[in-house]
């Protein structure tokens, strides 16, 4: 029973505005050895009155972010909210960091994680419903947060497997739902298709990133070989030009590094985020199914209670009859409640999906613009490099 029209939902969507900006910065290693961890600075800038200050910051570690997700998941997902998924755990990555934060792969890992945590928390505070949650405010404001312990579900198996397991449970429901409105079925199918497509794209981008990294390596080796050639060259002018060439190649290597980073941090991570977000979307559809199930089971229980009452009437046992009537009243109100819940979650899911699709288009567009800006800058630096080398090359003869 969908009473609100789509137009009404869209209007409500447009009114939702928020003004909170969160940054995750300054990763610092705390402690030593295997108990070491990385703490990040979480800084908030806001004009909303629900916060005690306009700007403030706290230090949080990775498990704190996971803990936040756990709490939100427990409290909000049965409303049909799309809860933004946290970044994946990584035992390999963290072990390297515990050993030392200075080598390039550790630096890359920490930066990747920092950026992912920032995107995660920004998505949480951008959600009008989640922003109201006290746990979110506590996460942003409270000086010391109790250590999150129940993050086991997110270890090893990871977020996607968790969602998929829950989905399977829903699919094993014996009573199949008859949708009066095909919107939910159609949308669910779209979401599944999109997830597949994004996976393909993600694989392509990863391939591109790997080739760019390969190019960095090859360029560095080539630069060295030209430096050697320049050193061995007898002709002074040519020797000079060849050495300059080696320097040009070194500069090109840096450009390739940056381009690989752009490909990765902008595209690859964006796609990875959305693959997981789509799984979250599937999760909220599953929640709606559960609400329906609860309603159906309540109706079935109510039916049984009525049968009991009928039997008692027939058997003429007045004392038990009273109890039976009370139980019927109780279950009738449950059925009404669960039906209301089911309708409500249906509306929330529709609203959430609409919001999600808008945000998705917005985010893709803004990330692509960021990428193009980086590429343009890269090309402009490249032009300067070639312009500087040209007179050197001409000076040989």
């Amino acid at each position: 029973m969908q009473t609100a029209s789509l137009e009404q939902l869209e209007e409500e969507e447009a009114k939702d505005s928020f003004d909170v900006d969160v940054a995750v910065t300054n990763p610092e290693k705390v402690g030593d050895g295997m108990n070491a961890y990385v703490a990040y600075k979480v800084s908030t800038r806001t004009s909303l009155s629900m916060f005690s200050n306009k700007t403030f910051s706290v230090r949080r570690r990775f498990s704190d972010f996971l803990g936040l997700y756990e709490k939100l998941s427990v409290k909000q997902s049965h409303h049909g909210c799309i809860i933004p998924p946290p970044p994946e755990k990584s035992v390999v990555g963290m072990t390297k960091v515990k050993v030392g934060m200075d080598d390039p792969s550790s630096v890359e890992f920490v930066e990747r994680r920092r950026a992912a945590l920032e995107r995660y928390i920004q998505r949480v505070v951008s959600h009008p419903l989640l922003l109201q949650d006290s746990d979110v405010r506590e996460f942003l404001e409270k000086e010391d947060l109790p250590r999150a312990v129940s993050t086991q579900t997110l270890s090893g198996a990871g977020f996607l497997k968790m969602i998929n397991r829950a989905s399977d449970a829903v699919n094993k429901m014996t009573i199949k739902m008859n949708e009066s409105d095909t919107w939910f079925e159609d949308k669910f199918q779209e979401v599944e298709n999109e997830e597949q497509q994004l996976r393909k794209l993600h694989a392509m981008v990863d391939s591109l990133v790997n080739h760019r990294k390969e190019l960095c390596g090859n360029t560095a080796v080539f630069a060295k070989s030209m430096a050697m050639l320049g050193n061995s060259e007898d002709n002074t002018a040519l020797s000079r030009a060849l050495s300059q060439l080696a320097e040009v190649e070194d500069k090109l290597e840096h450009l390739h590094q940056e381009q690989a980073a752009s490909d990765f941090f902008i595209f690859s991570e964006l796609l990875a985020d959305y693959i997981r977000l789509l799984a979250s979307v599937r999760g909220c559809f599953d929640q709606r199914m559960r609400a329906w199930q609860r309603w159906q089971e309540a109706q079935s229980s109510l039916q049984k209670k009525r049968e009991v009452e009928a039997k008692l009437l027939w058997a003429n046992k007045p004392d038990k009859l009273q109890q039976a009537k009370e139980e019927i009243t109780e279950w009738e109100s449950r059925v009404t409640q669960y039906e209301r819940d089911f309708d409500k979650i249906g509306m929330t899911v529709r609203k959430e999906v609409l919001r999600f699709e808008k945000e998705k288009a917005k985010e893709f567009k803004s990330q692509i613009i960021k990428y193009l800006e980086a590429m343009l800058q890269s090309q402009q630096r490249l032009i300067k490099i070639w312009e500087a080398f040209l007179p050197e090359a001409k000076a040989i003869a």
């Binding site: 061995s232 060439l245 613009i369 090309q379 040989i396």
Partner: protein, 369 residues
Amino acid sequence: MMEEVQDVTSALSVHGHNIKVTDVLKDGDTLTFVIVSQKVSGTGEYHVDRTYDDVEWLQQHLFSQEDVPGLHGVIFPPVPAKPQVNVTAKGMKQLGFLGLGEWQPYCKALETFLRQVASHDLLKKNKAVEIFLTSSDPPGRQRVKKNIFNWLSQAMDEMRKEGHKDVDEFFQAQRDQNLVMTGCTKNATERFLEVVLTEQKIAVACGHFSAALHLCVEAGEDPVKQAFSRICVKLSEVLESMKKNMMSVAENNVNTLGLGLDLESRYQEAEKEMLFRRTCKLVELETARRSAEKAKPVKKAAMEEVKKAAESEFDHISRVAKQEIAQFESERVQMLQQALVGWCEQQLLTAKESADQFDRYLQAFRGMA
């Protein structure tokens, strides 16, 4: 069709500096090159079809020219390796840059070889050059393949001679320098090839990404869905443009610096072979001198003759070699300069075009609803 060359030398009837390899045709396993040269007197051109067999025929005749004293002192213009239509991995390694891009770089390299031969004062007079460039019958197709390259290949025995100490400081210095340069240049050429091959891989990856984005486009009237579809289509165009740009970058690399390094590498090898031939002659000379000294009176006169002949040949070779080395040094610097300037100019142009493209796409995305 001529197997033997009657008059060994005469003036070349075409210009050497503007010979062109205009086309390459694939017929099964064979590649046929179309070579065009301009007549010296009057207007008019020669168009001939030649295969690699014909090129080898030409080389044989150049090496075996008999009336040029000190011919072994010539740094022979290096010919590209044999092209294989269905290239094996080993073949690719041998050809390097010349195996890329549908044989266009190979044609350029062959063209350079012919120009150098036809412009070389000692070599261009060889009638084989005239026949190769002007005869309508291909000279090399049905020759009996003789392995005449034995004296070029280094047997184990010969390897010892490579290190033989020179009597002339100039030549010892040349040999030492050449040893270093052949190694460095070969290494640089191979490393640059790796760069180009990776650039090509990136282009292919961009193409795949571009194609995959098209699959994300959905039909339907939902405005939000349409917005996302438009984004995917535009991004697909961006990736296609990046692919083209990367292909241009790789092509520029091949056509300028790639060919330049390849030629330099082969030329250093050619100089190495010449210096080695001279060193072998030196060993021969020193052996002849010792034999003449130790010879018993009955053989002495004959040994002296041998010694005198060896001395004369060695002097000729050294004289020619000195000229060749001077010529080589100035030509290679010029050639490399052209390669570097051309490389820089082409890459600069491509970078500017790419920047313009990115700028246009940036405006398009910013303007998108």
